[in-house]
Every structure is written in structure tokens, then in C-alpha cells.
């Protein structure tokens, strides 16, 4: 069918764009390294081919230990947040649902921060992820309860509930960090996100969640499509709507929580990317889920490249970049989408 062709073409194109983005981003930074040298460093590491070393150890450290893991981490986090956005929008039937706007990211950040401040990792390595997940689920539950899904103005109600929960959790988070005697810098890290000072290990922690989340959500594409007709229609077609809804909300929250526990709160990725891709490729989730994931990876890779290179010698939080792009987009959707009631 031509749907397969469409999927193949979009995936191919986006992968190519992603590869080019990786190469360009590897070059950007205060220390210049030529493409040729980057290529040789990568080849020597990836395939353990003993090439003649014509680069400095500084260059090697910058490419292999700083830029590459950071780029890969941005990709994984971008993919996870975008995937979570597709899932939240699909399952809540709300075009404005996104892990950040729903307060799920804030809840996850609070959970993770508490775990880190209490140093629970000494007891159990995954405790930060679990704590973030609990925080994410608690705040999602609270937002959904506040917004009361039955209400007529459910778009507006959901956003208001998200704002309330975000403010509350933001205050709690700041308070917790202040109590612990940490610096402003840490607070900004949690509130606006950062990919600085990350290692290969962080990618290793996120990758299993990412792979599991993607595989699970993609296999639900038919259910996503049918549920987009409305919950009642989905029930008539034999979907166990309540069960699916909770499973998908759990997985989307898990994706958000684990990403946030490593990089802090990065907003709007899950809002902007699925929307753009829906306009470009149509609403079929079989295509939408994978293309949004790759596009999210590309988006965050570029957002982080800007965050680390736009001011010489210093970084700006990545959440600043995504919010500068995402918030106006959100404003636009709020005006357009709510008026037309369709997307």
C-alpha cells in the first residue's frame, strides 16, 4: 500500500536529516575540529580500527566524551518527550496535551530532585527514576482529577489544571532545593533543563525505557486511531478503552519521568513536534508515532546545539530555547485550534 511507501519515505528523509544534523552539531563548538578528523575519531572508536593518530587527545576528548554523548542524549530525550506528547494528545483527545503542560514533567522533576537530595541512589541505583515516575503519575492524576475529563471546556480546563499543578510543584521543588542548601544553579537546572556534563552512562540509563516505550506505543497505533474517533466509537469497535487508556498514560508518564530525571524539565517538545508532523503526514498513528519520535530527536539536538553555542563561552538552559520556539506555537494553537475545534 502507499501508506508503507509514505512511512518509508518520511522515515528515510528524517533519518538523513538526523545524520546530517549530528555531523554539523559535532563540528559546532569553541574548539574547531575538521569533519575529516571527526570522521577518523569516530571510526577509530566505533570499529576499533587502529588508525594513525593525527589528532590531539583534547580533540578526541571533545568529540568522543563531550559532544557525541551530549548529541545522542539530546536525541534520546527529544524522541522520548515527543513520543510522550503523541501519546498524551492521542489518548486524552486533546491537542494541547503535552508532558510539560500537563504538569507531568514538573511532578517527575520534584520526584527526582527529592530522591537526589536524599541521596537514595546509594541504596538503589534506579531509585531516582522510580521516584520521578511516582511524581509524574501523582501530578498527572491530580491534573486529570482537577480538569475533570467530563467537563465541556476540557481543553481549557486541562491547561488551567496544568498551570495550577505546575506552579504548586515548582514552588515545592524550589523550596526543597533551597532547604538542602544547594545553589540557584541547581534550581535552574531542574526548572529549565540542561544536557551539560552528561556521560555515556546517562544514555545507557534512558535507552531501555526509550526502546520499550517506543515499541509499546507503536504497537498500539490501531487503538490510537480508533480512539481518535471518540471513546464511544472505540468501545463499539471492541477496544477496551479504560485498560488501554491507563496503560498508555502509564507508559507516556514513564517516558517523561525517566527523561526528566536525567535532564530536568524541557518543555514544549511533545507539543510542537507531534503537531507539525500531524500537519505534514496526517493523523494516522502508524506513521505519526515513528516520524514524531525522529523529529523530536532532531528538534532537541538542534535546541541543545543552540543552547551550548549561541553565547560564546557559556551555556543557556535548553528549556529556554524550546520555550522560545514552543510557547508562541502554543499561543497560536490556542487561538486557532480552539476556535476551529479541529486540527
Amino acid at each position: 500500500m502507499n501508506k508503507n511507501k509514505k512511512l518509508f519515505l518520511w522515515m528515510g528523509g528524517l533519518f538523513l536529516f538526523l545524520l546530517i544534523s549530528i555531523v554539523i552539531s559535532l563540528r559546532i563548538g569553541s574548539v574547531g575540529v575538521t569533519i575529516h578528523t571527526i570522521y577518523r575519531i569516530l571510526v577509530s572508536h566505533l570499529f576499533s580500527i587502529p588508525l594513525e593518530v593525527d589528532w590531539s587527545t583534547g580533540q578526541e576528548a571533545i568529540i568522543w566524551n563531550l559532544r557525541l554523548p551530549r548529541i545522542l542524549l539530546a536525541m534520546v530525550v527529544g524522541g522520548m518527550l515527543s513520543l510522550a506528547g503523541v501519546a498524551f494528545q492521542g489518548i486524552l483527545q486533546n491537542p494541547l496535551a503535552d508532558p510539560y503542560i500537563l504538569g507531568v514533567s514538573s511532578g517527575a522533576a520534584l520526584g527526582a530532585a527529592i530522591s537526589i537530595l536524599l541521596q537514595t541512589q546509594r541504596l538503589f541505583i534506579l531509585s531516582t527514576s522510580i521516584s520521578a515516575f511516582i511524581g509524574a503519575m501523582a501530578s498527572l492524576g491530580f491534573v486529570l482529577w482537577l480538569a475533570n475529563l467530563q467537563s465541556r471546556q476540557k481543553n481549557e480546563a486541562l491547561i488551567l489544571a496544568g498551570v495550577v499543578v505546575q506552579s504548586l510543584i515548582g514552588a515545592l521543588l524550589t523550596f526543597a532545593i533551597a532547604l538542602s542548601g544547594e545553589q540557584m544553579q541547581t534550581i535552574i537546572f531542574w526548572m529549565m533543563g540542561s544536557l551539560a556534563n552528561k556521560e555515556w552512562l546517562d544514555i545507557g540509563i534512558l535507552l531501555p525505557y526509550f526502546i520499550f516505550g517506543f515499541a509499546f506505543l507503536w504497537t498500539q497505533h490501531k487503538e490510537f486511531n480508533v480512539m481518535a474517533l471518540g471513546e464511544r466509537a472505540a468501545i463499539h469497535l471492541g477496544v477496551d478503552v479504560n485498560k488501554k487508556k491507563w496503560m498508555i498514560l502509564l507508559v507516556a508518564s514513564l517516558l517523561t519521568a525517566t527523561a526528566v530525571s536525567i535532564v530536568g524539565i524541557i518543555g514544549f517538545v511533545g507539543l510542537v513536534i507531534p503537531h507539525m508532523l500531524r500537519i505534514l503526514t496526517g493523523p494516522d498513528h502508524r506513521i505519526l508515532i515513528p516520524v514524531s519520535t525522529i523529529a523530536g530527536a532532531i528538534f532537541l539536538l538542534w535546541a541543545d546545539t543552540i543552547a551550548r553555542s549561541i553565547l560564546p563561552g557559556r551555556e543557556i538552559p535548553i528549556g529556554v530555547v524550546t520555550a522560545l520556539i514552543g510557547a508562541p506555537f502554543f499561543a497560536y494553537l490556542l487561538r486557532q485550534g480552539l476556535r476551529r475545534k479541529s486540527l
Binding site: 500500500m1 483527545q93 486533546n94 491537542p95 504497537t219 490501531k222 486511531n225 480508533v226 481518535a228 474517533l229 471518540g230 464511544r232 466509537a233 468501545i235 463499539h236 469497535l237 471492541g238 477496544v239 477496551d240 500531524r278 496526517g282 493523523p283 494516522d284 502508524r286 475545534k341 479541529s342 486540527l343
Partner: protein
């Protein structure tokens, strides 16, 4: 063979009786209209019979098995349900929406086969929707959207079709078009049709038997002419109608005194 057997069915919501001790059976291939005033329990009965609500008191047998014994997906292969649906948020095309009718027949991790596609093509052609197949569902009129809903239900290949007010918001031309399509389908496939209708005249024209509900009870049940009697309707609707014979088809029709 009776396809549905309802035995002593009662249903409460928050201690309020919605349905009270209903018993009746429906034969395969029949066309049944459920009529009655607002709040008489028509839609609740439809939801119980289609397996969306679970019966608390009494029993509903579908093909000699309790309706609760079927899985949701299994039931969706036997039963299609059309109701007033919200326009979907996402801009699916006519073709995509109709294809979703195949969902109950798809196994996990599989997608549509060529047999599914030829069925979809055939039904789109039958309902004269093939020119609109790539149009987004939002761009259609109310009548066209109802045709898409019929097409989706047909693609589902059910043995029973439930309809909740299929003609609400439609002009008379579209009302007749929708009802004719459903009748053609019923006669061709020996489909059992069970529909809630407000319009008693449409009910009289398009059904074999009527169930007249009043305050959760079965007020009358039988052939159209037996149920549409002045006293019965006057009692249930609290207004006295005039009943005449349709000059062309001969079925009972209702006029209001005003």
C-alpha cells in the same frame, strides 16, 4: 432462531430504577424500533443489549450465551453500533474512518489485507462515497457523515446493528436516504436491526416490530399496528394522537392534535 433473549432485566443508576423487569426476545433478521418518551430507558436498554453496560439484575442472552461471556472484540465482530458521534479531533479521511470498521477483525500486529481493502472499496461504492474517499471527515455535511458511519458499520460485517437516533439533525431527504440504506443492508444480509427512534412515523415505516417503553417498563411490544394505538400512546406520551393509515404504504402514521 432468537438472536436476543432478554429475561427479567432491571437496571439501576444510583438506586434510581432505569429499567424495570423487561422480558422479550428478538428473532434473527428482524427490524425492531424502540420508542417511548424521553427518560423512558430506551438508550440504556440499547447499551445493555450491545454489551456496553453490564446487566446487574436479569439476563441478556445473545446467540444463547450471556452477553457478558463475550470479549469486547468478539462482540464487536457481531454487533455494530451507530450513534451521534462527535466530529473527531484529527482530520482523518473518509477512507481511513471507514477502514477502522475492520478493527475488530484484525489480530494484534497485523494490518489490513487485500480482502479488507476490496470490501472497503465495494462498500464505499455502494454508498456513493468513493468520490469523497480522500476528503477529511470535517469537510462533510451531517448527512454525509452519517453515511460514513453506515459505511464503517457495514465494513464491520456485523450480524446485529444498533442505532441510537440515526436521523437526528438530518433533513427529510437525508433521513429517508439513511433509513433506506439501512433497510437495503438489512434485507440483503438478514441483518438484525435494533434502533431507538424519536420519530414514530419513521419507526412505523422502517421497522417490523416496536417496543414501547414507559418509565423503564415495557408498555407494549409487538407489530407496528398493535403498538401504535391511540390509547397506548396517549397514556405514555400524555398527549392524544390521531392515527391514520399511510395512503401509499398502508402503515400506521401519527398526527398530532396540536
Amino acid at each position: 432462531m432468537s438472536i436476543f433473549e432478554v429475561k427479567q432485566l432491571s437496571y439501576q443508576i444510583d438506586t434510581k430504577d432505569i429499567l424495570n423487569n423487561l422480558s422479550f426476545s428478538i428473532q434473527e433478521g428482524e427490524s425492531i424500533g424502540i420508542i417511548g418518551p424521553n427518560g423512558s430507558g430506551k438508550t440504556t436498554l440499547l447499551h445493555l443489549m450491545s454489551g456496553i453496560y453490564l446487566p446487574k439484575n436479569g439476563q441478556i442472552l445473545f446467540k444463547d450465551r450471556p452477553i457478558t461471556a463475550y470479549s469486547k472484540k468478539e462482540l464487536a465482530r457481531y454487533i455494530a453500533f451507530m450513534e451521534q458521534e462527535a466530529i473527531p479531533l484529527l482530520s482523518f479521511t473518509v477512507e481511513e474512518v471507514v477502514a477502522m470498521g475492520r478493527y475488530p477483525w484484525l489480530r494484534p500486529f497485523t494490518s489490513l489485507k487485500s480482502r479488507d481493502y476490496s470490501l472497503i472499496d465495494q462498500i464505499l461504492a455502494e454508498l456513493d462515497l468513493d468520490k469523497k474517499r480522500t476528503e477529511p471527515i470535517h469537510s462533510l455535511s451531517g448527512g454525509e457523515r452519517q453515511l460514513v458511519a453506515i459505511a464503517r458499520a457495514m465494513v464491520q460485517e456485523p450480524q446485529v446493528l444498533f442505532l441510537d437516533e440515526p436521523t437526528t439533525y438530518l433533513d427529510i431527504g437525508h433521513q429517508v436516504m439513511v433509513m433506506n440504506h439501512i433497510r437495503n443492508w438489512q434485507q440483503k444480509n438478514n441483518l438484525t436491526v435494533i434502533m431507538v427512534l424519536h420519530d414514530l412515523n419513521l419507526a412505523a415505516q422502517y421497522t417490523d416490530k416496536l417496543i414501547l417503553m414507559n418509565q423503564g417498563k415495557l408498555q407494549a411490544w409487538g407489530n407496528v399496528a398493535e403498538v401504535l394505538e391511540e390509547q397506548k400512546l396517549a397514556h405514555v406520551y400524555q398527549t392524544k394522537p390521531v392515527i391514520i393509515k399511510h395512503p401509499v404504504t398502508g402503515v400506521s402514521q401519527i398526527l398530532l392534535h396540536g
